[in-house]
């Protein structure tokens, strides 16, 4: 008698369905979701490299030593050079504009690609390298500013160039976000001819490096001690916050969903294994009477589980692989990079999950099968075996915590779910005991269907309490997922709604504020208020001069920052310390952004001294604000009361939304306001929106799989009690009870269980979601009144439906058939 034979026979007999399905779902969820998140993380890493146009960059205010590039080349890295500088550019004798010129070597960019178009504002095309020597690509709006077309001559310093295309985007343009003028892209070899770069010019040289991780590491170690003042090494710290935060939340959600899915599957496995073992009592007793030893029984069931685990791992990995492939198909072109490979780790995780689930949830009841007394062949009424022990529950709990922690790598998230589970289990056990007792009192006075049903509930009180606990935990986990998913998607939609600003205007002079506002209103584009900007620099904190720092991250202390003023808290800003000032306040106060306050170690009440132009300004920190950097709204590090910045030279900025078909408006606008700088962010906004909608689709899909796991738990839970109910109902029918009575009492019995479970689940779900959203997911919590209606309804419908469906045989087949089978 081999394990495989037994499994095949059990499979035919339908004994294995729930157990196997639960295992497969656990493996699918773990391998699919972790393969997806791993590939996404790997892609994002590549993606952020694109925003540097390289893997590492050395930035310098003077020419970078040639030996550095040579060293990098000798390590097998790719190397490129860029040089950025402001310069007046001329078209003919009259038209000239201050442009931001960038000279790039032939192999630029090393990561990512350039977008250019044949005509200004026309459809952009990707291209792998910059302009050829003697030619330049210029910003779309520069055509309008200089009143030229493609093919015209452009002069930079002493050299003439032919304009051959419009440059639309560069991978590393983020680093020059607040540049000083429209872009002119030229070839690195043409720099000497222009004669504009002299010692002391305001320029930024960059040495771009890319290649495999080991060589990069070696090169960086070699470079670091050679860096001098004004030379910085850049890596992929912080580009593209919008895409990043959207995907990070999605990832957290998927990990949460995955953890819950695994918990659900584990419960289903435990229930399935228990039923499997109960169905094998006689089997084992007969085998033992025929001479099988307990060791042999243990080997038989142990190897059965291993075979089952292997089959489930194979099938689950295959399904998991398909699931994550489907996600990436859904993402399609929205994901800016080809998804990286996940490696075998996710599938090993799936296998490990299957092993842990089998060892902790399926093995304990099966291990005890060896202890079944062979005397059962003579006396069937002998109890099968001891109930689960405390040890079993502890092993199960330990395994759940281990899996969740290991899988989500998030203590808060695990704690929130465990708190919900514990609350649900405790409250459910307590309330179920009370309610079921109360039910009988009511039942004594009710009609006979009710009496039968409620007496049944009471009779199986202990089993029913356990069922209510399991049902309410399963429904709770599902409700949590639905709730979190809903608020997540809603948050994204409000974060980047249709009409999210995708163009920024900066350098608007005070005299231009009204004309610009009118121009935007005329076009009826959705526009933000015009924010004033005053350039200023922090020099002292609490009277102490800021020293030079070696940490490049702190370079911003030294840098000029944009100051603004406002009477009210800017939209999307949250005060996290201190308080906002009264409108019309003239007190010398400032409100700082959380990050900059942290990095400069400034608290509310500190005094900060600025240099603005040639003047000094000392103010007291009134509040610290948290900003939403993903919102694509103008954000400011430092805000002052309007009266404080009166009299300082200010320019204004704003943002607005412009649809793709209306881009021509920019031409007209630039002609009208040639000194205003336009920054086009529409490509990025569109990308974020596309990714968000695809991620939402992926989340729906995962939710579907988890729902399946939840349904399995419910089915397994219902099945656990079906035999006892079938037997009773069959006896009642044999005694002459009409089908209607049996059916009615079954509907009521399962309906009441569902009502209890649904109500308790709702309570526990609200609690968990509160903890999750406030502690783990960094979202705001809102109670969901709809849930209090939905939870109990779902409980009644699902459990009532599943219960009656599983017991349908008792009314559809003759009572004798049912009795003989049991």
């Amino acid at each position: 008698m081999t394990a495989l034979k037994m499994l095949l026979r059990d499979w035919r007999g339908g004994e294995l369905g729930v157990l196997f399905a639960a295992l497969v779902i656990a493996v699918t969820i773990v391998s699919g979701i972790s393969a997806f998140t791993t590939r996404l993380q790997n892609s994002l890493e590549q993606e952020s490299h694109r925003f540097l146009a390289a893997d590492r960059v050395v930035s310098s205010s003077s020419a970078v030593s040639d030996s550095w590039g040579e060293y990098a080349l000798s390590q097998g890295l790719q190397v490129a050079n860029t040089l950025s500088f402001p310069s007046m550019v001329y078209a003919g004798d009259e038209d000239m504009v201050l442009a931001s010129v960038k000279a790039v070597s032939d192999n630029y960019p090393l990561r990512g690609e350039l977008l250019r178009s044949d005509q200004p504002f026309a459809a952009p095309q990707a291209i792998a390298h910059g302009p050829a020597a003697g030619t330049v690509w210029i910003d779309s709006r520069l055509f309008a500013l200089l009143d030229i077309d493609v093919g015209a001559q452009l002069t930079i310093g002493e050299a003439d160039f032919s304009v051959t295309a419009a440059i639309r985007s560069e991978p590393d343009q983020g680093s020059s976000f607040l540049g000083f003028g429209p872009r002119v892209l030229m070839n690195y070899t043409d720099i000497p001819a222009t004669e504009v770069v002299q010692v002391g010019s305001r320029v930024e040289y960059r040495l771009l490096l890319a290649g495999d991780a080991g060589a990069l590491e070696t090169t960086v170690e070699w470079l670091e001690p050679r860096l001098e003042n004004g030379e910085r090494l850049l890596d992929v710290a912080s580009s593209q916050q919008s895409i990043g935060s959207a995907l990070q939340r999605a990832e957290q959600f998927l990990l949460l969903a995955g953890s819950l899915g695994v918990v659900l599957a584990a419960v289903a496995i435990a229930l399935g294994a228990r039923r499997f073992s109960e169905r094998h009592y006689d089997y084992v007793a007969i085998m033992k009477s025929l001479g099988a030893t307990s060791g042999r029984i243990a080997r038989l069931y142990g190897s059965s589980l291993l075979i089952l685990g292997a089959a489930a791992t194979l099938l689950g990995s295959l399904l998991g692989w398909s699931m994550q492939s489907l996600f990436f198909v859904l993402f399609g072109d929205a994901l800016p990079v080809t998804p990286a490979s996940s490696g075998p780790r996710p599938y090993l995780m799936g296998m490990f999950t299957a092993l842990v689930c089998l060892a902790s949830f399926a093995w304990p009841p099966l291990r005890r099968l060896g202890k079944i007394s062979p005397l059962r062949v003579l006396r069937r009424d002998m109890p099968g075996m001891a109930q689960r022990t405390v040890q079993d529950y502890l092993v199960g709990l330990g395994a759940i915590i281990l899996l969740m922690l290991w899988y989500s790598r998030d203590v808060n998230l695990t704690l929130a779910v465990l708190a919900g589970l514990a609350c649900s289990a405790l409250v459910a056990a307590g309330a179920a005991t009370l309610l079921l007792r109360g039910g009988r009192l009511a039942g004594m006075r009710a009609g006979s269907i009710w009496r039968l049903a409620l007496a049944g509930l009471q009779r199986r009180g202990a089993a029913n309490t356990l069922q209510v606990v399991i049902f309410s935990m399963a429904i709770m986990l599902l409700l949590i997922l639905v709730l979190v998913r809903t608020s997540l998607i809603e948050e994204w939609q409000t974060q980047l709604p249709e009409g999210t600003p995708n163009h920024f205007l900066i350098n608007i002079s005070p005299e231009q504020v009204n004309p610009v506002r009118e121009a935007l209103n005329r076009k009826a584009v959705l526009s933000q208020p015009l924010y004033p900007m005053v350039r200023g620099r922090v020099t002292h904190i609490n009277g102490e001069a800021l020293g030079r720092s070696d940490d490049p991250e702190e370079g911003r202390r030294e840098r000029e920052t944009n100051l603004t003023w406002s009477d009210a808290v800017p939209p999307n800003n949250e005060i996290i310390a201190g308080s906002w000032w009264d409108a019309d306040s003239a007190q010398p106060l400032v409100s700082l952004e959380e990050g900059i306050a942290d990095s400069m170690k400034i608290k509310v009440g500190d005094t900060v001294t600025y240099t603005v132009g040639a003047r000094e300004l000392s103010v007291t920190v009134a509040s610290i604000r948290r900003l939403d950097w993903g919102s694509m709204q103008p954000n400011f590090f430092m805000v002052f009361p309007p009266a404080v910045l009166q009299g300082y030279p200010a320019t204004f900025m704003t943002s607005f939304y412009l649809g793709g078909e209306e881009k021509q408006f920019l031409n007209q606008f630039i002609r009208e306001f040639p000194t205003v700088t336009v920054i086009e962010m529409d490509v990025v906004v569109q990308q974020v929106r596309a990714i968000v909608s695809q991620v939402s689709a992926a989340i729906e899909l995962v939710l579907g799989v988890i729902l399946l796991a939840g349904a399995l738990v419910l089915i397994a839970g219902v099945q656990a009690s079906v035999d006892a109910r079938l037997l009773e109902s069959a006896i009642l029918r044999a005694l002459g009870a009409p089908r209607k009575l049996i059916l009615g009492s079954l509907v009521i019995e399962f309906g009441v269980l569902g009502l209890f479970a649904g109500s308790l689940a709702t309570l526990a779900a609200e609690l968990s979601v509160y903890i999750l959203q406030t502690q783990a997911l960094d979202m705001s919590y809102q109670p969901s009144p709809l849930l209090w209606f939905l939870g109990p309804l779902v409980g009644i419908t699902l459990i009532g439906g599943l219960g009656v469906w599983n017991c349908r045989r008792v009314i559809s087949s003759p009572p004798l058939t049912v009795l003989r089978e049991l």
Binding site: M287, L290, A292, L375, L378
Partner: protein, 222 residues
């Protein structure tokens, strides 16, 4: 072949202890057939279970083929059963998920016979079920199921066969056919037969009958 000495079985019940067997001394010789009779609750099945090593006695001793069962643990008793003991039960005790052939193969596989399948098929033919080997218990009548159980019991060629009310769930005619079959194969194999029954017709076919009353041996007759 089987010997019991002062065999005692007590169980804990609400409000004290219940003595099911009160010191049974019994000896059964090789190839002998013995019927244990008595009223419901007299302790017949308990005695059978103890002699077969399915249960442990509170006190006293049981020897099977010279082996003291009290000296063996549950697993050693199981090995002994696999080697020497066969069973036929009132409720047949076939495994519903196995076919007739697989049910008969079960003890042969447990005893490590390499020709389990052909031997099982031979025994099924012997009980006139050669055409029904692939049928499941639910597809067989009560009489047919008991014939499968008899084939299973004799397949491993045990030296002792225990039968617990083998005709209890069958009608008279089918029961008579089963009794014939049981004794026929018993004679062929020279098996020691111990059976528990209510039926005098069945008890009459045995070499000897022992009567139990309230847990005590009251009468033994040839």
């Amino acid at each position: 072949m089987i010997k019991t000495e002062n065999l005692l079985k007590r169980v804990e019940v609400a409000g004290g202890q219940l003595e099911i067997l009160k010191g049974i001394d019994l000896e059964i010789k090789a190839s002998e057939s013995v019927a244990i009779v008595g009223a419901s609750g007299s302790g017949k099945s308990t005695l059978l279970g103890l002699m077969a090593g399915l249960d442990e006695a509170t006190d006293g001793k049981v020897w099977i083929d010279g082996v003291d069962l009290q000296q063996l643990d549950e697993d050693e008793r199981a090995l002994l059963r696999a080697e020497k003991v066969g069973f036929v039960f009132q409720s047949f005790q076939l495994l519903p998920s196995l076919t007739a052939l697989e049910n008969v193969m079960l003890p042969l596989e447990l005893a490590g016979h390499s020709d389990a399948e052909s031997r099982a098929a031979g025994f099924l033919a012997r009980v006139e079920l050669g055409e029904r080997v692939t049928h499941y218990p639910s597809q067989l009548s009560g009489g047919e199921q008991q014939r499968v159980a008899i084939a299973r019991a004799f397949a491993a060629e045990p030296v002792i066969l225990f039968a617990d009310e083998p005709t209890g769930n069958l009608d008279t005619e089918t029961g008579a056919h089963i009794i014939d079959l049981l004794f026929e194969i018993n004679r062929e194999q020279g098996t020691t037969l111990v059976l528990v029954t209510h039926e005098s017709r069945l008890a009459d076919r045995c070499d000897r009958r022992v009567r139990l009353h309230a847990g005590a041996l009251v009468e033994a007759q040839a």
